[in-house]
């Protein structure tokens, strides 16, 4: 996982509550054997005017001009500004994979669905919870100013606006450590590799048959 310390990026505002994982990445794209390449199908049903299927050349599909990500002023956005209960629905990890593949590194919302929140931090995306009024203010500022950017700083746990106004946010120490160091859960577990080896050595004495495989 890429370390995430500070993101200074263009903000794309997605002004809907309860955006579910099916909207983030529709289910016809889940048969893939990869965890990359979902970016072109992020928000597929909103982003394109036709019905998307895997294997299409997405660059040839008719874009929905009204959808926020299709507006030139939000091109290259790495921060998604969203509303309440973002990421509800299934536990599929394809949703954060799609956001990441598109280029988002931070999602700011007043609240997130639980599993999605976890899945984000497992996959290099920082979910930032800010109070409803603050999010509203950021929506207004984004709308008013083309090219609007925010600086999200994980070490100091702050979001800073172009005018220098700062908002603090909370994140638990475990997830913060993982994101800052680019450690996914596997990386964190591997910090205990010695303990795993010690367990194996002890267990191999107690139950040696578990470590000597017969058969194929």
């Amino acid at each position: 996982m890429e370390p995430l310390k500070q993101i200074d990026g263009i903000v794309a505002p997605l002004d809907r509550a309860n955006v579910d994982t099916d909207a983030i990445i529709p289910k016809q794209f889940l048969k893939s054997i990869k965890r990359t390449g979902f970016g072109p199908n992020l928000f597929d049903e909103w982003r394109y005017l036709d019905h998307g299927e895997p294997g299409q050349d997405h660059s040839q599909r008719p874009l929905n001009p009204d959808f926020v990500l299709n507006q030139p002023r939000y091109e290259g956005a790495s921060i998604l500004l969203a509303r309440r209960n973002f990421g509800c629905g299934s536990s599929r990890e394809h949703a954060p994979w799609a956001l990441f593949d598109y280029g988002f590194r931070v999602v700011i919302a007043p609240s997130f669905a639980d599993i999605f929140f976890n899945n984000c931090t497992k996959n290099g995306i920082l979910p930032v919870v800010l109070p409803e009024e603050t999010v509203q203010k950021l929506f207004e500022e984004t709308a008013a100013e083309p090219g609007y950017r925010l600086t999200v700083d994980l070490p100091s746990q702050t979001v800073t606006t172009p005018s220098g106004e700062g908002f603090g946010f909370d994140i638990d120490a475990f997830r913060r450590h993982a994101l800052l160091n680019g450690l996914d859960e596997i990386g964190l577990t591997l910090e205990h590799a010695d303990e795993i080896r010690a367990y194996e050595a002890r267990r191999a004495r107690e139950a040696p048959w578990l470590f000597t495989r017969s058969g194929a």
Binding site: I33, K122, T189, I196, Y199, A207, L210, G215
Partner: protein
């Protein structure tokens, strides 16, 4: 120290470290790998430049997507083929043992694990599939995981887990004739509900459970997840040890003796306590048929479909009405008036040799009824198929009008070509009757192998004892 339950013993033996937040890093002895939930896990390993921690702890097989008709020519559907090819490539790249599609040992992952002796008493067993609970029948701690966890287990041989609460489902007494392990577990789910086991590890105990064969215990543990529990288990006894003896992956020589001595400790201590106990009298269980779109929607074969009007609770009333509409059934109709179009005998719940024997015993000397458009038997593995053929069961089925197929998941979830058409009704020995599970618009009735066979012969659900 107070006594420990079987679950406590299995848990304690696998804790590598306790984390500050109350979770534990749990060592994984065996991971079973299949083609649907593993590709992204392998890709993740590759992207991070990691390798499996212990290749010999893994065993792979393709089962969900494989065709059940002649497959020497390969798989026609490109999406299915890609998943199976990807599994082959990943196993080759990392040196993981795989039973390839045309290997006689190929089969449903939860059938081949025990069959090979690759899943053993006392092990922690995981697989990217919720029916991993099956392996708990051997006295193992076995549970399903997601793709991230598949990768985590591959890379570290551990998982971060929170301990569950303990539930005992105790079944005592003599089973009435014609009542099988499948009827026990459907009855249990009907009683405690599909969320009844949420947050619990279930141990199935009592003299009725102990009297079941190990294969029957697998059927029961298989459906723990349908009761909401990630794992179900049965204590080790003589039957478990006899089952393990001589299997290809089972310990041999001195190691066998050492293993058996340890396995004999894998039971709940008499003074151990459970957080919840459910007691069931075996004499109350009758052959079960599910009528709705959730495994808790079951009735005895001589019972009736419920009438939503008689349900006081509004949410439940609506649930029943919606299920009946989807299933195309009338409130209050006798279960015996329901006529299936198709019969599916297979799946990790009921495709082992004893299941096929039980179905063949009912079928022998009869013909599939005229109204049945397709009756199929899909053995759980190539070895089950061979054994059945050696016993002549294939001929019993074929002469009666059944199709005899190659092993795999098949119409349990319709990822391959075997599926129901909209509105079609199926008597199935599988484990899920969700909307669309066996094909969009398909209607599934969960039953035991003997009951599925009886429905094939009678053309409607009928008490297997009346044939």
């Amino acid at each position: 120290m107070a006594g420990r339950t079987l679950y406590d013993k299995l848990w304690d033996a696998h804790v590598v470290r306790e984390n500050e937040d109350g979770t534990a890093l749990l060592y994984i002895d065996r991971q079973l790998v299949h083609e649907v939930t593993s590709p992204q896990a392998f890709e993740g390993l590759r992207m991070a430049g990691r390798r499996p921690w212990r290749t010999d702890a893994n065993l792979a097989v393709a089962d969900h997507n494989v065709p059940t008709t002649d497959r020497r020519g390969g798989i026609a559907d490109p999406v299915s083929r890609l998943q199976v090819d990807t599994l082959d490539e990943n196993c080759a790249a990392y040196g993981i043992t795989e039973f390839a599609m045309n290997d006689p040992r190929q089969g449903i992952v939860h059938v081949i694990g025990p069959e090979q002796g690759a899943t053993q008493p006392g092990m922690t067993v995981v697989c990217g599939d919720s029916h991993t609970s099956t392996h708990g029948a051997l006295g193992a701690l076995a549970f399903g995981i997601g793709t991230s966890e598949v990768e985590h287990a591959l890379a570290t041989q551990t998982l971060i887990q929170a301990k569950s609460r303990r539930m005992l489902v105790e079944v005592n007494g003599t089973l009435p004739p014609g009542v099988t392990a499948k009827d026990i577990v459907l009855h249990v789910i009907g009683r405690i509900g599909t969320a009844g086991g949420t947050g619990y590890a279930i141990e199935f105990g009592g003299d009725t459970i102990r009297s079941l064969s190990v294969e029957g215990r697998m059927t029961v543990c298989n459906m723990s997840i349908e009761a909401g529990a990630r794992c179900g288990m049965v204590a080790v006894d003589d039957a478990t040890i006899e089952y393990m003896r001589g299997r290809p992956f089972a310990p041999q020589g001195d190691l066998w003796d050492q293993a058996v001595a340890y396995w004999r400790t894998l039971h709940t201590d008499p003074d151990a306590e459970f957080d919840r106990v459910v007691t069931i009298d075996a004499a109350d269980i009758r052959p079960q048929v599910s009528w709705g779109t959730s495994p808790e929607m079951v009735a005895p074969v001589d019972g009736r479909v419920p009438d939503p009007a008689e349900e006081a609770d509004e949410t439940r009333r609506e649930g029943i009405a919606r299920a009946l509409a989807y299933m195309g059934l009338e409130a209050g109709m006798p279960i015996g008036d329901i006529r299936p179009d198709k019969i599916f005998i297979g799946s990790c719940t009921n495709s082992r040799i004893e299941d096929l024997r039980a179905a063949a015993d009912v079928v022998r000397g009869h013909r599939v009824a005229d109204g049945i458009t397709l009756a199929m038997v899909v053995p759980g593995s190539g070895l089950v198929k061979q054994q059945a053929e050696a016993e002549g069961l294939d001929r019993v089925f074929v002469e009666a009008g059944f199709e005899w197929r190659e092993p795999g998941c098949s119409m349990c979830l319709a990822m391959n070509a075997d599926r129901l058409e909209p509105g079609e009704r199926c008597a199935a020995t599988s484990n899920r009757n969700f909307e669309g599970r066996q094909g969009q618009g398909g209607r599934t009735h969960l039953v035991s192998p003997a009951m599925a066979a009886a429905a094939a012969i009678a053309g409607r659900f009928t008490d297997v004892r009346s044939l």
